[in-house]
């Protein structure tokens, strides 16, 4: 076997497996003449496009140096006037229900409260695995997520690739997605999951669709997606039956009809400039849950320019959506789930304090499975068996081990979440939700603080 360093993507596979720890990946010191405007990367991109005439493709979340607001918010703790609570001694509750809340209490003829509600998703931990399709990731990666969701009492999401017949058994912990390509959607699929997600957009590529090349559409995927073998799977940019908010309402109710009003409907949108108005429209569309995906969110493949320039950070989107829904008195109509680069339990905690009901994680989950963020998913050659359909590579990921690592990660985060909640004197996650007094900004200017609805540290 011959090594060709020009093909190295820095996936650390060789480094991790080297028995003598002899390898390390270092940056070459070969460089263009220094130029603050025309950086090496910019020049390289031009060479690539001059050769290919094509759109630049990229994977995972944007690596650009945009502000990460999670890192500019600090969390409160109790001192003296209010005791902190020790999660080892006292109950510390993270159970969350997602779905529409009743606005008026109804009673029967005997005065008893009628307890029937709109369908709800019950989460033991306010974290779910975000949509990744079978096709963009491997069978073993999907199985790892399904097994872990089941064990954790949470949910994973099929993405727009349909549901492999082997995974119907995990339906209770599955969110099935309906996206613009409608791949793999049939009545059995819709009824198999615990909830249905309409994917309108994705944080990493707002406003554009998806493309799974025919080379990845093997036997199994072709069957699951219900498309011919080796044909390209192209998801259009818009849903061609949704050109307006009232069209969305029709699809929401079509899906409710198809599932006899037993499943909550999630509408997932990318965080874009007028996200609060969009969310307000969705909250009145009959949807039960709104999922918002921030622009730092991951992707299996996206045009690099879109990924790096379109959309807004999830922190700002979340803060303004939560506030707008409250101003309009309709926050109870929907639950809010946010994703787009949730990296740790403190990101989760801050998201909930800003107003989220729960979060979606995907990149963090893949990293737990072994991903080293080499950002070449679109090549289909993932050395860790995650973002690939090559059987030789797929078998490198053991789903039992993978699910255990996912369970460990989320369990660890939940411990940390409880620890920080206890520190604040909060022993139930619902008392944290939207509790923005628990956050302070650090190094943020007035406009940012106003949008986030928080004070600066020291104030």
């Amino acid at each position: 076997m011959k090594a060709d360093e020009s093909k190295c993507v820095n996936c650390h596979r060789c480094v991790s497996l080297c028995p003598t720890r002899a390898l390390k990946i270092v940056k070459t010191d070969h460089t263009f003449k220094e130029n603050a405007n025309w950086k090496g990367e910019v020049i390289q991109d031009i060479y690539r496009q001059a050769e290919s005439g094509g759109v630049l493709l990229a994977s995972m979340g944007t690596p650009k140096d945009y502000p990460v607001y999670w890192d500019k918010m600090l969390v409160n703790a109790s001192q003296v006037t209010n005791p902190s609570i020790d999660p080892l001694r006292e109950p510390m509750e993270t159970r969350t229900y997602l779905g529409q809340k009743e606005s008026v209490i109804k009673r029967d003829a005997n005065g008893k409260i009628i307890t029937k509600t709109a369908p709800q998703l019950k989460l033991e931990i306010p974290i779910m695995f975000s949509a990744m399709s079978y096709g963009s990731i491997s069978y073993n990666a999907h199985k790892s997520l399904a097994l872990a969701a089941q064990e954790l009492g949470i949910y994973y999401n099929t993405g727009e690739g349909g549901l492999h017949e082997d995974f119907y058994q995990y339906g209770k912990n599955t969110i099935v997605q309906v996206a613009s390509g409608r791949f793999g959607v049939h009545p059995g699929y819709l009824n198999a999951g615990a909830a249905i997600e309409i994917k309108m957009g994705q944080g990493a590529k707002p406003g554009i669709g998806g493309h799974l090349p025919g080379s990845k559409i093997g036997e199994d995927i072709s069957k699951t997606r219900m498309i011919p073998l080796h044909s390209d799977a192209i998801s259009p940019a818009p849903h061609h039956d949704i050109y307006s908010i009232e069209d969305l309402r029709q699809l929401v109710f079509a899906l409710k009809e198809a599932t006899a009003y037993t499943k909550p409907i999630i509408v997932k949108v990318a965080a874009v400039h007028n996200i609060s108005a969009i969310a307000s429209g969705i909250a009145r569309s009959g949807a039960d849950i709104i999922a918002i995906d921030g622009f730092r969110g991951g992707t299996g493949a996206a045009p690099a320019r879109t990924r790096d320039n379109v959309g807004i950070p999830i922190e700002l989107a979340l803060a303004s959506v939560d506030e707008r829904l409250r101003q309009e008195g309709i926050r109870g109509n929907v639950s809010l789930v946010v994703g787009g680069s949730i990296r740790s339990s403190s990101d989760v905690l801050k998201a909930i304090a800003l107003g989220a009901d729960a979060v979606y994680v995907a990149t963090s989950a893949l990293i737990a499975l072994g991903c080293h963020l080499c950002r070449t998913c679109h090549s289909g050659k993932c050395n860790w068996g995650i973002a690939t359909q090559n059987p030789e590579l797929v078998k490198r990921l053991n789903p039992e081990v993978g699910s255990e690592r996912l369970v460990n990660l989320i369990t660890a985060w939940n411990h940390e979440l409880k620890e920080m909640m206890g520190g604040m004197g909060i022993n139930s996650i619902e008392a944290l939700r939207g509790n923005r007094l628990m956050l302070r900004g650090i190094g943020l200017h007035e406009t940012e603080l106003n949008i986030l609805g928080i004070k600066h540290a020291g104030a």
Binding site: S78, P91, G329, I426, N427, S428, L432
Partner: protein, 382 residues
């Protein structure tokens, strides 16, 4: 110099946590008694306050005006008084108005103008608002407090009244001459705020319509509760825990029609692990209430005494992070932060107990149902 314009931020401009003492007394037979016992009870707990706020609520004190809303108002300027009275005249029939009688106390200074109005909504205005008279009056009170600078309505119920000031509660009782009033129930509060310049409106009880709350504790869920309740037309102008608790109770009890016991199952909801152990029917109701009103769960330490027409309810946080004692003798029920505050006015109670965290003690007048639950006796905590 008046108490309203300070250089340091006022209540409402800054959030002020406080520790406190609370006490409540009710005669279940409806026998009326003066505010003296409440003064004696709270005086024992002098060290739980720091002289920055005290107050009382008495129920059944205005029998001659029982059908009218009694508005107690602080004014910090004659202009505020003029604006407020204009507003009141536009919206209500004013049946009677007067200064609230007070006696100067050495320790009570910077008093605002303190006025009392007995009012009833103007029938035409009420009809065109399409609201019931309680909602109409509540909205007017919230509007005055939010919009008329220097005017503050601190009591707005029928046949009840709140009396509060900056000072130690026992001095506040003398200041308002509570010996001269007789009610079937009284609650009282002594305040220990951590950093307030002391504003009269910020003292407790906090009240809306006939609900009044005295509260000891600092709730960690404050902003989650506030941001939720403000969706329903309330404005938390004072930024105090007591204010938000009062609004939540008003919303749940008056607007949603929950019984006081159900209200307790929302604001001090049982832990999920406790709910799982309940009977199927109870489990469904508790899960429903907790899920539907998730953002109204209060966490952090609190003990409250809620006053309402015809009764009192005492409630602790789920972990019982604040002391609360209950006792009964003959037709009386006593509730207080400390046993000593009960024994000083009732040395030998028939029964004395420490209510469990999250379990309400609801006491209503005999033959009258204060809440929809109709509990005639203390219901829990033995």
């Amino acid at each position: 110099m008046n108490g309203y314009h300070h250089t340091t931020p006022l209540e409402g401009e800054v959030r002020i946590p406080s520790g406190c003492a609370i006490s409540g007394i009710i005669s279940r037979s409806g026998k009326r008694f003066s505010g003296r016992e409440a003064i004696s009870s709270i005086a024992v707990m002098h060290d739980r306050s720091n002289g920055l706020g005290g107050g009382f609520a008495g129920y059944g004190i205005y029998p001659e005006y029982a059908d009218f809303y009694a508005l107690h108002v602080f004014y910090y300027s004659s202009e505020a008084k003029r604006s407020c009275e204009e507003f009141l005249e536009e919206h209500f029939d004013l049946i009677n108005l007067s200064k609230i009688p007070t006696t100067k106390q050495h320790a009570i200074t910077d008093e605002p103008l303190i006025w009392r109005y007995f009012v009833t909504p103007l029938p035409t205005k009420l009809a065109s608002s399409q609201l019931d008279e309680n909602e109409y009056t509540a909205r007017c009170v919230i509007k005055i407090n939010r919009e008329i600078d220097g005017a503050y309505v601190f009591s707005s119920g029928k046949n009840m009244g709140v009396f509060k000031a900056v000072g130690y509660p026992e001095d506040v009782g003398e200041f308002y001459r509570l010996d001269d009033y007789e009610g079937y129930s009284w609650t009282v509060h002594g305040r220990y705020p951590t950093n307030t310049p002391g504003w009269w409106g910020g003292a407790h009880p906090f009240s809306l319509l006939d609900y009044s709350v005295v509260h000891n504790g600092e709730i960690s869920s404050y902003d989650a509760n506030r941001r939720f309740i403000e969706m329903f037309g309330y404005s938390c102008t004072l930024m105090t825990d007591t204010e938000v608790i009062t609004y939540m109770i008003d919303y749940l009890h008056r607007k949603q029609g929950l019984s006081f016991e159900e209200v307790a199952n929302v604001i001090a909801a049982p832990f999920w692990s406790t709910i799982e152990r309940k009977s199927q029917e109870e489990k469904e109701v508790c899960t429903y209430l907790r899920n539907t009103f998730a953002s109204m769960l209060i966490t952090g330490p609190f003990s409250i005494i809620l006053g309402f027409s015809g009764g009192l309810m005492a409630l602790n946080d789920r972990l019982k992070l604040r002391s609360l004692v209950a006792a009964e003798k003959d037709d009386r029920v006593y509730l207080a932060s400390e046993e000593a505050a009960i024994r000083v006015i009732c040395p030998e109670p028939d029964r004395l107990w420490y209510p469990s965290g999250g379990k309400p003690v609801i006491v209503t007048l005999e033959g009258q149902q204060g809440g929809q639950d109709g509990h005639q006796l203390p219901v829990s905590g033995l």
